[in-house]
C-alpha cells in the first residue's frame, strides 16, 4: 500500500481530506476550548497567588471518586466512538445500543458529580466557602451544563438512528465530536482540580 493510500484509509480523515462530522462543529470545539482555557488560566493564576489556601481546600476533594468519574466519561467516549464505527459499517442496531450505553455512562457520571456536590456542601464546602471551592463549583458546574447539552446531542443521534430515512453519518459524527469535546474538558478539569497539587 502506498503512502497516499495510507492517508485515505486513516479512520480519522475522510477521503476528501476533511475531519469527521461538520467542519462547522470544529469551530465550536476550538472556540469553546479557548473559553475553557481562559477559565483554566484564571484558576491557575489565583492558585499561584494563594497556593496554601488552595491546597488546603483541595484536600476536601475525593480523588478516588474523581478517578471513577474520569473512567466513566472516558468509557463513554469509547462507546460513542464505537457507535460511529458501527454507523459507518451500517450496523445501526448495534450503534443504537452503543449510543444508549454512552448516555447511561453520562448519567452515571452526573450522578457521581451530584453525590460529590452534596457531600461537599454537607461538610461545609460551598460555592462561597473558599476561593478554591468557588472555582471548583464553577468549573464542574459549567462542565455539567455542557454534559446536559450532550444528552440532547445523544438524543439527536438516537433520533437519527431510529429511522432509515434520517440516518445522516455526518450528523452522527458531528454529535459524537461534541461528546468527545465535553469529555476532553473533563479530563483537563480533573487534572487541574484533583491532580495538580
Amino acid at each position: 500500500m502506498t503512502a497516499i493510500e495510507d492517508v485515505h484509509t486513516d479512520p480519522g480523515v475522510d477521503e476528501d481530506g476533511h475531519v469527521p462530522g461538520e467542519g462547522d462543529m470544529w469551530f465550536f470545539v476550538v472556540f469553546e476550548s479557548l473559553v475553557f482555557t481562559s477559565y483554566f488560566c484564571v484558576y491557575l493564576y489565583y492558585r499561584a497567588q494563594h497556593e496554601h489556601a488552595f491546597l488546603k481546600a483541595q484536600s476536601a476533594l475525593n480523588l478516588p471518586l474523581g478517578i471513577v468519574e474520569t473512567i466513566l466519561l472516558l468509557t463513554s467516549s469509547w462507546a460513542i466512538a464505537r457507535c460511529v464505527q458501527e454507523v459507518r459499517a451500517a450496523r445501526y442496531r448495534s450503534a443504537q445500543r452503543l449510543a444508549m450505553v454512552t448516555a447511561g455512562l453520562g448519567v452515571a457520571f452526573l450522578g457521581c458529580k451530584l453525590a460529590e456536590w452534596v457531600r461537599l456542601i454537607g461538610e461545609g464546602h460551598t460555592f462561597t466557602s473558599s476561593e478554591f471551592m468557588q472555582h471548583f463549583f464553577f468549573l464542574t458546574g459549567m462542565h455539567a451544563i455542557h454534559l446536559l447539552i450532550g444528552f440532547v446531542v445523544l438524543g439527536v443521534i438516537l433520533y437519527q438512528l431510529a429511522d432509515p430515512r434520517r440516518r445522516s453519518h455526518q450528523t452522527i459524527e458531528t454529535c459524537s465530536t461534541y461528546w468527545h469535546t465535553v469529555d476532553l474538558f473533563w479530563v483537563l478539569i480533573f487534572a487541574l482540580l484533583y491532580i495538580v497539587r
Binding site: 473559553v35 481562559s38 484564571v42
Partner: protein
Amino acid sequence: MSIGASLRTDPKRELWFVWYSTVAFYSLYSVVFFVLTRTQPPGRPWLTPEQTVGWFADRHWGLLVGFALIFVLGGFSATSIALITYSIRRMSVSRAYAYSYLILYAIAAIPGFLFICVAMTVGAMRPERDPTLMHWLYDFGFLSFSGTMGVFLVGSLVWMAAILLDKNGVFPRWFGYLNLCNALTEVVIAPSWIFQRGVLAWNGVIAWWIDVAVFGMYTVVFIYLLRSLIQRDDLGTGPVPALPPAAAPRAHPLAKVLAG
C-alpha cells in the same frame, strides 16, 4: 445611478437602513457606556455607601449626558432585534422562532439595558441624597445590567436552533454553534448575584472580562453576517443565493480557515 435614484428604486433600502442603524446603535452604546458614563467596565461591588457617593460625583455629568443620549436614541436597539428577527423569518423554519426571539429580546432589554440607565441617572441627579440610597441605586444598576444577562440566554438558543435547522443557508452553521458559545457565557454571569468579590463578581475576570470578550466577538460577527445576508438576499422565500464572485465581498479569514 444617482444616490437619490438608488434610494427610490433599491428594494433593499429598508434593510440597509436598519443595518446602518444597528451599527450606529452599537457605536453609541459603546461610547456611552465605556467613555461618557464610564459604567463599563462596571464599578467595584464592594464599595461602601460613602464610596458610591464619590463614584456618582466623579461621573456626574457623564451619567446625565450619556444616559440622556440613550433615552433619546436607545430605541434604535429595536433595529438590531428587528433585523435578526427578519433573518429568522427568511429561514425555512417556523415563524415561532422569529416571534420567540423578538419577544424575548424586547422583554430582556428592559432589565438588561434600561434599568441601569434609569438607576444611574437617578443617582447622579441628586448627589446630596442619603449614601444608603445611593448605594442601593448603585447595586440595583449594576445587578440589573449584569445579573439579568441570563434572560438573553434563551434568545441565543432560539437563534442557534433556527440556524441549525434552516435549509435556506441564511447563515453559516458555525455561527449557530457560536450562538451556543455565547449562550453558555450568559450562564457565567448568574453567580454575580452571590459574590461581592472575586472572579465571579459582576466585575470579575470570568463574569465580566471573558464574557465581554466573547460577546464583543459575537456582536462583530453577527453584524458582519447580517450585512452579508442583505447583500445576498433576493427577497424571496427559498434558499438565499450566493453572491457572484465579482460582487462577492472579500472572504473572511475565519471562513477561509473553516473551509479548509
